[in-house]
Amino acid sequence: MLIHKKLGGDLEAYRSSSVTNTFLIGDANKGLLNETAFLELKPWYFQSWQQAEKHGAAVWHYLWSFAENIPSIKSSSDLGLSAKTGDTRVKALMNGSKGLTHDLGAYTKKPCG
């Protein structure tokens, strides 16, 4: 059951803050996120209380990543998720059972490089 058949495009999700997954604030919607190629971002160049800033970080991280190398995955030859990741790889991530976490460079604003 390929999810992209319903919408016509492959689905990717990038989470950068706790705004969206703290039940007091919003619905984490894990059911939907499990159907995406998912990447947890760590914008740790913002402090823990700067959730609004972290929330916004997903936008320019994604847009900036069009110009950066696709991140690699530790101890794997597979590529990670970014705006530049190929469609075949995104489909594989969508249909997988795990999400990814962008660990390296957590204290650096510029993604990859």
């Binding site: 059951m1 390929l2 999810i3 058949k5 319903k6 919408l7 016509g8 495009g9 492959d10 689905l11 990717e12 999700a13 990038y14 989470r15 950068s16 803050s17 705004v19 969206t20 039940f23 604030i25 919003g26 619905d27 984490a28 919607n29 059911g31 939907l32 996120l33 159907e35 995406t36 972290k54 929330h55 916004g56 970080a57 997903a58 936008v59 994604y62 705006a83 469609d87 995104v90």
Partner: protein, 76 residues
């Protein structure tokens, strides 16, 4: 964009906008299937950027949660 001739459409939505991105993608797909939307507009990618769904049912979507509504558009 009815005259769009490009090869790649990406729809990205941030926060609440992710819900709009999903709806737009669905409407494009439905329109293409119905034959009244340029097929070149079919998105290759739908990017949800720190997507947000509020808690609770909403009367304007038949008392569903927005997250459930979005899942309904995505699930086959």
């Amino acid at each position: 964009m009815s005259n769009y001739t490009g090869s790649r459409v990406i729809i990205a939505g941030h926060s609440l906008g992710n819900q709009m991105a999903i709806v737009v993608a669905k409407k494009l797909k439905d329109g293409i299937s119905a034959g009244d939307t340029n097929s070149k507009l079919k998105p290759k990618r739908i990017a949800l950027l720190d997507p947000y769904y509020s808690n609770g049912t909403k009367s304007y979507i038949s008392n569903q949660w927005t997250g459930a509504k979005a899942r309904g558009y995505v699930d086959t």
